[in-house]
Symmetry: C2
Subunit: 492 residues, 2 copies
């Protein structure tokens, strides 16, 4: 493959796809719409998982595991949910292959091994989980039930894209049951805030916290809370959702509890999830024409040390200096790689680590050995500095924090510069077409208007922000009354 990476300004979409492959994060597989997540990409997912899992446990949740398959009949129980997912699911109909008698060496489905009831590969697990919860919940003492699952799910998407939209993806799905509506609403809000905190503090990706309009809601939810991020190309990305499910699944699966007062009541539910899609968001928030840019808190390699040497003796002399530094960095929980490969020149190594988004690069050559110095380069700004070896560990520690903050600030400024208030539909179209980003506008609250705007501009309502001010206004499209601005954008 050519080393050249397409520039973002040339073709953003091509840049994105090339970057993922060149940075060794993922690739398309032999299975339509399914990707292979390569070790470097998976290491980022593992870091995300570790932080999210810690946050889920700190908020009282436990992990469990439910079956991959959902019998068709369970899938039918919640009508809206079934409608939302039936159109795009993988269906298991048989449980055996056999040698094809007409075609030596080939296999075919054994027609005798047809399942009595088809099994759907889970597109999401509400149905199988609520069918299970029925057996777990009898009394108010069994509530709240706070469970999370890390799993793979399958949605038969027609247009797929690495990380952003794949037929199979990895995610976590929380499924909770509560005695009261208030508790369930509070849980859904809490998990939206957990996601927002993770996005901002770890991914350095600012998000807008808001609620979905009715037509953008999860099938089967009474309310869908979302965190919406803005990518560099001006398109929005739904980065995580947290649903208040009301009593819809409890009623569909007949899950009741005996209250303290001895009454039988349906329970209240939430579900919430984020997926490997976050990696797509991470890429499109920070990366540049030289390749990936990773926030230090999620970088698999935080610091790379490249020796610049001629011959074994110089390499050994450099290693003697570097070894205690590596040890000290590691003891502080900083991941370091020492790259002494002799099959590659330093310049090529520098380019590789730029492509892979390693936040800090340290180079040490002959002159550094003489002077007791090293050269430190940061990935986010490409700035280089020569510093004393003595202070390197402290310098790097501080620099990693600085890079983390800088990435967030930069992304936040870009995002804030791309929330444009408009009051006319001409302005609306102009901003969507020429500037991109979020358009903050009044909307009359009807699905018809939403659909019409989408048809004309491809922009959808991303969310009704949690912090939207009450203000009297007129719908940007119909002129009908509105009390709040909502955010529109084109979206991934």
């Amino acid at each position: 493959m050519s080393k050249h990476l397409t520039k973002r300004a040339e073709d953003y979409s091509k840049w994105y796809n090339e970057l993922i492959v060149k940075a060794d994060m993922a690739e398309n597989s032999a299975v339509r719409g399914c990707m292979v997540i390569k070790p470097y990409g998976f290491a980022i997912w593992e870091k995300m998982q570790a932080e999210l899992d810690r946050m889920f446990k700190e908020t009282g949740h436990q992990n469990a595991y439910f079956p991959l398959f959902v019998p068709k009949s369970l899938f039918e129980a919640e009508e809206k949910n079934a409608e939302g997912f039936a159109k795009e699911c993988a269906v298991v109909t048989h449980y055996r292959l056999q040698n094809d008698p007409d075609n030596e060496g080939k296999l075919r489905v054994d027609p005798e091994a047809k399942l009595e009831e088809e099994l759907v590969v889970r597109p999401t697990s509400e149905a199988i989980i609520w069918n299970t919860y029925k057996g777990w919940i009898q009394s108010h003492r069994d509530l709240p039930l706070l469970i999370n699952q890390w799993a793979n799910v399958v949605r038969w998407e027609m247009r797929t894209r690495l990380f952003l939209r794949t037929a199979e993806f990895l995610w976590q799905e929380g499924h909770t049951a509560h005695a009261t509506k208030e508790e369930a609403v509070a849980e859904a809000k809490q998990m939206q805030e957990v996601y927002a905190t993770f996005a901002e503090q770890f991914m350095a990706m600012p998000v807008v916290r808001g609620a979905k309009s009715e037509s953008e809601r999860f099938a089967g939810a009474d309310d869908t809370l979302t965190i919406e991020a803005l990518m560099q190309d001006g398109k929005a990305l739904q980065a995580g959702t947290s649903h208040f499910l009301g009593q819809n699944f409890a009623k569909a699966f007949d899950v009741k509890y005996t209250s303290r007062e001895g009454k039988q009541e349906y329970v209240w539910a939430t579900s919430w999830g984020v997926s490997t899609r976050l990696i797509g968001g991470l890429i499109m928030t920070h990366s540049d024409d030289a390749g990936l840019v990773l926030p230090p808190k999620l970088a698999p390699i935080q610091v790379v040390i490249v020796p610049i040497y001629k011959g074994e003796d110089q390499l050994n002399a450099i290693f003697d200096k570097v070894e205690p530094i590596i040890k000290e960095l590691k003891s502080k929980g900083i991941s370091v790689k020492f790259d002494d490969r002799d099959t590659m020149r330093p310049g090529a190594k520098f380019a590789e680590y730029e492509l892979k988004g390693v936040p800090v690069r340290v180079a040490m050559g002959k002159r550094d050995l003489e002077n007791g110095t090293v050269e430190v380069a940061r990935r986010d700004t490409f700035e280089k500095q020569t510093i004393n070896q003595d202070g390197l560990v402290e310098f790097v520690e501080k620099l990693l924090n600085e890079i983390q903050e800088n990435l967030f600030t930069k992304a936040l400024n870009y995002r804030n510069d791309h929330i444009t208030e408009v009051d006319t539909f001409d302005e609306f179209k102009d901003v969507i077409k020429n500037k991109g980003g979020f358009v903050s506008a009044h909307w009359d609250g009807t699905i018809e208007t939403e659909d019409k705007i989408k048809e004309l501009t491809k922009a959808t309502i991303r969310c009704i922000p949690n912090d939207a001010k009450e203000e009297e206004g007129k719908c940007v499209f119909t002129g009908g009354p509105s009390s709040k601005r909502v955010l529109f954008a084109k979206a991934y």
Copy 2:
């Protein structure tokens, strides 16, 4: 459900199933042969995963993720492997459901949405992974390739049993590629040793390291290394396998590399896996008629503290004493639960934690408050001791180590008492029938003899132990020449 747990001597199999359900580890689901792993069971799996993952990374492996589905044609590429798995796999044939026009509210497969090529839900991932490796391996510099995947797999087993044999299960599968046969053989051995170390040091479950006979080998392997454990009922359990795959998959998928000498060579391969089956082994190695017994290193809760009190004041006084102790235990990485539920009597709590296998129980009552003491009970021996509160943390720390060792020693003694050398087939049958455990016997090395012995006794060759001595002998069944004893047993 009744609180009564069937005794092992009454019905071992019933005891096993009841224990899992009563200890809240897992249950059968609405999907035939698939289980739900409940939070308490899943927490044990998470502890296992964390240790194994650390060991894999320490030996140079990285995690990645490959698709759930294997196109039928890839599945056909390695003939033996295909034959081994085709008989028991879930097959996806369609990608959409639709409303059933003949049956309102019901869904049916959309006949228009038939896949051109059927997809098999992975029973194991050699085929999809080797098809991918073809694109990753060109030069000797790309080797070795050391990759592991944590995933769910599906095998359409007819007789299933919680943890031991389920249609869907969770596992890890390592898949490595090497330049030479020697390296691949060494890798397979290394991973067998990693599994053995994990089983013995964390699960406190002694294992025999050995190789499988040809007929018990993994389909597609040249050699299958195994770790075999012995359960309390005298049956063996294959707890983990590590396969030397030769060049079988490299040839099937045409994976070659350019050697240092510039020649094109097929690569050499291994694969290795352990699964949630280990939890079944853990249960059947240590547990007793009172319930689960967990080795401290894998127990989700290592210490439970139960206050015995009347009224708020006493509870508060106990909590004041206990709080700094909990803090200190936690700071040492020991997981502690303080159970002050007022809906349950202390005796019922004691029984619950016995059932759940919590290694150490600490009780503190009014008299303890006056005397500055606590009562400490260990789960493995039921021994109780009253000790001073001052020394509790050190005492518990030591006790956890002692319990871990004691469980291993007990299991090792049982296992060693159940390896019986026999030299006649009458003895063989007698031991298999009446004593159980491993029978160490000479075998003439033929599949015919192995099959015949299995037919007559239900015992199979579990392994040819790595440390089997060379000795001249006669096959216990045919009298044919043999140079080593092998281990037979009935197995799960």
